[in-house]
């Protein structure tokens, strides 16, 4: 008998996934900033990403949850550009939070090298800040 578990993590697990993501995203952002010192973030990517990437899902009950299915395409797009297993672990965690029938958008990465670095830095920053907010919401801070 193949008893695959339910496909949805329980609320307690969602909180743990958010904490693990928070830990990984912080490390990834720090590593990238060290590696790419002097690369400024881009305000227009920021604005565009912020509008496209609402940080929360709209569920009312706790725990608050990150909008996994809109961040996922961005991480899949930048993964080949970053030689870092942390990115794949973030993708694995986001897959756990993805709603079963969620559609996935395609993301194109800037071809210009400098623009590409600014794009990556903006995503990592937005993601890290989003997790900080979700985590503090969940811990009632």
């Amino acid at each position: 008998s193949h008893m695959a578990p339910t496909n949805q993590p329980q609320p307690e697990d969602i909180g743990a996934i958010i904490t693990e993501l928070w830990n990984s995203s912080k490390k990834l952002l720090e590593d990238y900033q060290k590696k790419e010192t002097g690369v400024p973030e881009s305000t227009d990517y920021s604005l565009r990403i912020q509008t496209l990437l609402p940080c929360f899902t709209s569920d009312s009950q706790p725990p608050s949850n990150i909008n996994s299915s809109t961040f996922l395409p961005y991480f899949k797009a930048i993964k080949p550009l970053l030689n870092n297993s942390e990115v794949q672990e973030i993708i694995e965690q986001l897959d756990k939070l993805k709603l079963q029938n969620a559609s996935e958008t395609e993301v194109s990465v800037p071809t210009d090298t400098f623009e590409c670095k600014r794009f990556i830095l903006t995503i990592l920053r937005q993601f890290s800040e989003c997790l900080e907010r979700v985590k503090s919401l969940n811990s009632g801070a």
């Binding site: 008998s1 193949h2 008893m3 496909n7 743990a16 904490t19 297993s85 794949q88 672990e89």
Partner: protein, 206 residues
């Protein structure tokens, strides 16, 4: 035809950020038997497998899965298939909640010192293992003895907040050198880390 024996006593352990390893019995099986370990993960949304058991491999009834597809928290199912030329025998499907089988590295003690003016006490400071889940509270076991005794005494306590890594060991003898060691476990897990390296410290004079 001689089918392989049904794989049983499946036991799995999750070495955080290192590997997820399962073993099973019978350990001793004919050389021409090999195994496929089928896993579902990501709460049942994904699946893969690992294989073991060709005649040259040493540990033939053990198989491991590796980063980046082993992340906590998660729920796995594991089924072991034994195969030889005559056919396939499948184990029962087993279910594994990663938080209950995670094993971390030991903590690292970096200081055992008296606190100025506080008699019969030393303050122990350590580093939370880097390879321990951020999402899990750690429980600790502290053991200590005087340097010239072989008798260990033990104390249990819990991490109050993420990264909390100080403990005041009180009720000791004055002006005495003590040996201290520490181990930890993720709160819901059954597998304790190994012991840290032993560290020495001396209480203040009376």
């Amino acid at each position: 035809a001689v089918l392989p024996a049904k794989p049983e006593n499946i036991s799995c352990i999750f070495y955080y950020k290192k590997n997820f390893t399962c073993t099973w019995s019978p350990e001793k099986e004919a050389n021409d038997t090999w195994y496929i370990v089928k896993r579902t993960y990501c709460y049942g949304r994904k699946s893969d497998h690992c294989t073991t058991g060709n005649s040259t491999s040493t540990n033939r009834t053990s198989c491991s899965f590796y980063p980046p597809t082993i992340t906590i928290p998660d729920i796995y199912t594991i089924q072991v298939e034994a195969q030889n030329a005559d056919g396939i025998i499948k184990s029962d499907t087993t279910k594994w909640i990663l938080a209950t089988i995670v094993k971390t590295e030991p903590p690292e003690i970096y200081s055992v010192k008296p606190v100025l003016g506080v008699k019969r006490m030393v303050q122990i400071k350590w580093k939370r293992p880097v390879l321990a889940p951020a999402s899990t509270t750690l429980k600790y076991m502290l053991r200590f003895r005087t340097v010239n005794s072989a008798h260990w005494m033990e104390i249990n306590f819990k991490e109050y907040f993420f990264g909390h890594a100080t403990y005041n060991l009180m009720g000791l003898q004055a002006f005495t050198e003590y040996v201290v060691a520490l181990q930890c476990v993720a709160e819901k897990s059954m597998f304790w880390s190994g012991w840290s390296q032993e560290k020495m410290g001396t209480t203040e004079e009376e």
